[in-house]
Symmetry: C2
Amino acid sequence: MSIFDTDLEQGAHNSVALTPLSLIARTAHVYPDAVAIRYGDQTTSWGETFDRCLRLADGLRRAGVGKNDTVAVLAPNTPAAVEVAFGVPGCGAVLNMINTRLDPEAVAFILDHGEAKVFMVDAGLAEVARAALAIASVKPLVIDIEDAQVGAVPGVGSQTYNGLIATGDASAGFTLPGDEWDAISLNYTSGTTGNPKGVVYHHRGAYLNALGNGLEWALPRHPVYLWTLPLFHCNGWCFPWTLAAYAGENICLRAPEGSAILDAIDRHSVTHMSGAPIVLNMVTTEAEGRGHHFAEPLRMTTAGAAPPAAVLARAAAIGFDVTHVYGLTEVYGPAAVCAWKPEWDALPAAEQSRIKARQGVNYAVLEEMSVRNPDTLALVPRDGVTMGEIMFRGNLVMKGYLKNAQASKQAFAGGHFHSGDLAVWHEDGYVEIKDRSKDIIISGGENISSIEVEGALYQHPAVGAAAVVAAPDEKWGETPWAFVELAAGAEVTALELIEHCRGLLAHFKCPRHVVFGELPKTSTGKIQKFELREVAREG
Amino acid sequence: MSIFDTDLEQGAHNSVALTPLSLIARTAHVYPDAVAIRYGDQTTSWGETFDRCLRLADGLRRAGVGKNDTVAVLAPNTPAAVEVAFGVPGCGAVLNMINTRLDPEAVAFILDHGEAKVFMVDAGLAEVARAALAIASVKPLVIDIEDAQVGAVPGVGSQTYNGLIATGDASAGFTLPGDEWDAISLNYTSGTTGNPKGVVYHHRGAYLNALGNGLEWALPRHPVYLWTLPLFHCNGWCFPWTLAAYAGENICLRAPEGSAILDAIDRHSVTHMSGAPIVLNMVTTEAEGRGHHFAEPLRMTTAGAAPPAAVLARAAAIGFDVTHVYGLTEVYGPAAVCAWKPEWDALPAAEQSRIKARQGVNYAVLEEMSVRNPDTLALVPRDGVTMGEIMFRGNLVMKGYLKNAQASKQAFAGGHFHSGDLAVWHEDGYVEIKDRSKDIIISGGENISSIEVEGALYQHPAVGAAAVVAAPDEKWGETPWAFVELAAGAEVTALELIEHCRGLLAHFKCPRHVVFGELPKTSTGKIQKFELREVAREG
């Protein structure tokens, strides 16, 4: 036995499980008076926020919630949506933020699949929650999150959020994870083949990505961060925890619309924000309309489809400094970044935008992002031409899919997480997506499964065959277009089909445009979507 | 069994041991052409540096060095001293940087105690290394680190450093730690009670402190960092690994003297540096002499005795932005920081300097720094008056002392690392040292054990009783003063005693001043050092 393995054991003195809960405790200790959250006219300090989170944890504890219990939350970007990132794991429970754009059926599926023990519902979303609860099998404790900005509405719960917090005792402290591998949150993917999958995050990964965001963005102390990115997307890309580490300000906004965003930027001197390219476009258009230019550069990370060169140029002109990041729910949100190099500053704008559109390189806290042959796992050459699948390996990869060992096994085949995104690897080590192997349409930052939309179309008696593909859209990035072959002798209008889909799907998922006609097929009868994509591209 | 504990196992896909070796690999991948090291007229990129570190690791491997073997290094702040931070752990070995100011006896003790298998020696230190090897029992493989700045000198080794690197194959890669708890380095304390103790660091702590330095300092990408802090102090406070994470520049300097430092700052547009207050004082004095003011603020972290208000004011006037940090070898160097608050900017200079002199709060990546009753471990009240001992708990606490289970057990009593520093806890949560429970004198950033110096004095036949205390010193922070009671009938001069000490101790440890006379003692015969400290303080 080596001298370095003798009498040098781990113990309470030198080994503590990594958890983002440590980050808020430390910031509340050092900067109790610094602003943690702004929402309308309401301001909360880190000391007060920590106190509320501790009491939330204890309130949940007193309600019988503990380790590995699921706490589902349906809320827009309000202060409560930030607090639950600490208060829920703070009692050992698992936070499940639900996409507020889902229909009641999808919400009910998630409540049931995640076995929600508690369901917290924002006042503005009581209606969809009520409908979801009517369908769901689980009977969670339902908590109403009050909001003066919504006003008094009939609640759906048995208790209010502030009431729950009032029952808690801050001195009880957080229940820290015994093992940093313990689950901290559950985030459902949009589901490419029917039902969404539940992605489980652990405390270790959440902690490391919290620091990773700061490292990649070279964050200053006390950043002022505007929430336009939904907090239900990969726990807001782990930014609630990053902001705790950097003692930053969370600027909360119920409805991220151009005018409200621009007002918030000015009012609070926002320094950083994240979101889909549509948000960048929206704010830029609004600022142009007002003839406005930011006093200081506003740093923004965008993910999803890369912003077009024209949008990037317009955004830069009003003061945006955009960083393109890339990731998936399975890797805690962004786990890759198109890390910018000083020598690129001198390039022409079009060339800069071409470089910036690439997905880039792994976060420093992620061991590896690679492009591989999906079958053999061999690395593809760095020639910018050979296609392969983007794969991830390291501490920012999820625990796995909840109650879905088969999907997990498939996703982790050969010791790498398979992203499903097809890409090339450039000579300089940067990755660029060329196609998606899964049928996903990214519209306004939301993933839409073409298969799910096709399924809805097929439920209409007049539809003989259907294929849904992405059409480029200046505002939304992409929108779904449906190509429909009618059943023999049947008749239906585009409007009727869209209305039919709205009865089955969230509105944002429904086809924006329907094209009737015979679908191009291979000799074996497989629909040739690439031809349809060309039609959609031409508009 | 919970659904969150089922089919969600760790594996190669989602779990990688934390190690700073990942940080250099990623930076070399993303920024291969960015400058990693500058030394005189020599510049090395991160791509080249990574390649050299890989080959160093493989060269060591081929020389039979592997997991848990100790590689001792005696070198000033040269490029090799940076490279070994990656190349040595890169073959699984443990890096032991040795203080270059030690005498041959102390070096020999460390080589033997650490069981050095390899000993790398800078050309300028061949003489002390040869003397140490003549005393030591171990017979390590000795490697000469050539340096054009030193010129051709007779080597002490059987091989050269660049020759070793030439034998390595970069494609062999690093040997990554199987467990992040594996040892990465060994750092000897100055030893307050005779022999120094070997502090063992692990990969997890080194990784976390590397990120922690960046977080506390809110480092930008590509910082330009000047090495005035010795790389043998706690592995340069983990900064070699921080600079790898941030793709920064290591500006190396053999001899950190005022003029050379100021030249390097100007020549390379240095943005950050660290060191003892004496370095701050030296550079400030030099800059004042040249009528010089930095173009951009130069951010500096200082540790050890807090810089006096007058020095801070002068330093600020020439463009220094000073952050006071605190730590010990046992906590990876700085593990606490006097985190500055914007509201303090408006205070008068004297008040600012009083606030800045405090040791502050725990690093965000360290779980806890507290002030406790050393016996009961009860927290002291935050009243700024009650004294207690500073204690640490968390991932930045060492594995323990090498081959010294008893010292480790004592240091970790009750689940906290006991620093030995006595402090008060202010109402705002900031800690301030009021005294050191161990008899340490900090002179020019080096710790001197008063007990060791007293031991040397007692070896002189004319000394009846001796006590050594710290005297404040404008240049060195503190210097050792000796108070001596002569043996009956004996005679000796101060100069003779100092010469006697120089024969036994490194020069910086020898008394600067000797006072003869009867020593104040308690009724039980214990020397009352506090009285002597008062004499020394009055000068």
